[in-house]
């Protein structure tokens, strides 16, 4: 059975508050905070992108494990903001992390669930015996058009998971649910994504998240009370909170994995950075339901149980999620638009 051998996350230190964005667009920040349940979001530095964020997340993962880097058999990176349109992020990571050149690697895309698609693929390769262990990464530096509601949430961050046998958290099961739903998209060459406004809710996020979670609990013959933690894709703070309530989960099962109110939606890392925060405090025997959602649309669901090996796992070798959340550098809107390339520079 495949399991989580190690994990690590990276969140850029720059942050902007919802008030700072709302002020520029004549919005009432209280509506954003109470409506979308977003207080602030992370912003990548001018020299950060999906490659650098993936590398830092993977380095944190490798620091916490004694697995020989040269024996890692696969590296897959899920993102919707890869630095190159053609030229894989994953091949740069092979060199940046000092992995063996005898390695399977590819970049994945499926909106916000590209990272969990990578997790499922590495799980399958471990379960089939093709590889001993592999790294799956979800990372993004997502963009929202100036003045769009997405500008309050689209943020940056990444999480890397090392999957192999005999890890500290077992994957009991995984499943996916996929339909053709045009709730959110970005056409080739366009800088900013488009979305269907309210259409992103019921027929997209809620249908796929709720169906995926229910199918998993049917398959595993479990109910919400059987899980110690639940974590959902979090495009804002409101959607996952409501989805959890609709499924019958309580606030205390969900609060540790809910990060979007403070760091925004890290897209391909959104659910797995929440899972990373949960793993930062989980104990042996804890059971976790994890549901990722990707627009377009689909959900990837995982049923995970933490085992006794967590007691000897070296979490302290890398910074945990909350330690990074609580170490911000606050910036204003002018710095934000400069960093995110939203102003036209000479020679650009």
């Amino acid at each position: 059975m495949s399991s989580i051998v190690s994990y690590g996350s990276y969140i850029p230190r720059y942050r902007i508050k919802a008030e700072e964005i709302a002020k520029e667009w004549g919005e009432n920040p209280e509506n954003i905070k109470s409506g979308l349940f977003i207080y602030s979001k992370s912003v990548p530095g001018p020299d950060e992108d999906v490659l650098t964020i993936s590398a830092e997340a993977a380095k944190n993962t490798l620091k916490r494990s004694d697995v020989d880097r040269k024996k890692i058999g696969a590296i897959y990176v899920g993102s919707e903001s890869h630095p190159y349109a053609v030229k894989p992020t994953s091949s740069i990571l092979v060199e940046a992390l000092g992995l063996s050149y005898d390695i399977h690697s590819a970049d994945y895309e499926f909106a916000c669930k590209a990272g969990t698609a990578a997790v499922q693929n590495v799980m399958a390769m471990v379960d089939s015996g093709q590889i001993e262990n592999g790294i799956a990464i979800g990372a993004d530096t997502s963009q929202g058009a100036p003045g769009d509601a997405l500008e309050y949430s689209a943020s940056a961050g990444g999480t890397a998971i090392l999957i192999g046998r005999n890890g500290f958290a077992d994957f009991n099961a995984t499943l996916s649910f996929t339909t053709d739903t045009p709730d959110f998209w970005r056409r080739e060459g366009e800088k900013y994504p488009s979305h269907g406004g309210r259409f992103t809710g019921e027929p997209a996020y809620f249908k796929h998240v709720l169906t995926g979670a229910k199918k998993m609990m049917e398959r595993q013959k479990t109910k919400p009370g059987d899980y110690d933690y639940a974590v959902f894709h979090q495009p804002n703070g409101k959607f996952p909170t409501r989805a959890a309530k609709m499924l019958g989960f309580k606030d205390e099962q969900v609060k540790d994995g809910l990060l979007t109110p403070y760091i925004g939606n890290t897209y391909s890392s959104s659910m797995i950075i929440g899972l990373s925060a949960i793993l930062d405090k989980a104990e042996s025997g804890d059971r976790i339901l994890a549901v990722a959602f990707g627009s377009g649309a689909g959900s990837d669901v995982f049923d995970i149980t933490v085992n006794d090996r967590i007691k000897t796992f070296r979490r302290e070798r890398a910074k945990g999620v909350m330690e990074q959340v609580n170490n911000p550098i606050w910036i204003d809107y002018a710095t934000y638009v400069k960093f995110r390339g939203k102003i036209i520079m000479r020679g650009a």
């Binding site: 230190r13 720059y14 530095g45 001018p46 020299d47 950060e48 992108d49 490659l51 650098t52 590398a55 830092e56 630095p83 190159y84 030229k87 740069i92 060199e95 940046a96 992390l97 000092g98 170490n327 550098i329 400069k338 960093f339 520079m345 020679g347 650009a348």
Partner: protein, 134 residues
């Protein structure tokens, strides 16, 4: 002219701070050297690549207010001479901090960042920079 071949040859050194250690006198060099300047011909074939930990401390630094075109976005920024834990001195940018936070002796850790790009269509050059160790 494109710098692709040169950048590619040096990428592992820039990504992971890979230097070379002389098998004769045990000195570690960064940037890597093909021959040890002390042991000369005796070091031929004895130079071995070695990755540094990325940990070091600031030996000296300067604050750049009038940056190169590609660094305009980041001024004022700090360029420092860093004494690596393994011995070699490395010049690098200190990021994610204000210049006032940087002091001689400050502990720093290497981080992979974009260093420059060859325009909008060319390659992105990644390499080491440093952050203050918290």
């Amino acid at each position: 002219m494109s710098e692709v071949p040169r950048f590619w040859r040096e990428s592992r050194h820039r990504y992971r701070l890979v230097g070379t250690r002389c098998g004769k006198c045990d000195t570690l060099y960064f940037p890597p050297r093909v021959i040890c300047p002390s042991c000369r011909r005796e070091s031929v074939g004895a130079m071995r690549e070695e990755e540094m930990s990325g940990e070091g401390e600031i030996y000296s630094f300067t604050v750049v207010h009038d940056g190169l075109e590609q660094f305009k976005m980041q001024v004022p920024y700090v360029i420092a001479l860093i004494r690596m834990k393994e011995g070699p001195f490395v010049t690098g940018q200190i990021v994610d901090c204000s210049p006032g936070e940087v002091k001689i002796g400050t502990k720093v850790s290497a981080t992979l960042r974009k260093v420059r790009t060859e325009g909008k269509e060319g390659i992105i050059q990644y390499g080491y920079k440093f952050t203050i160790t918290h």
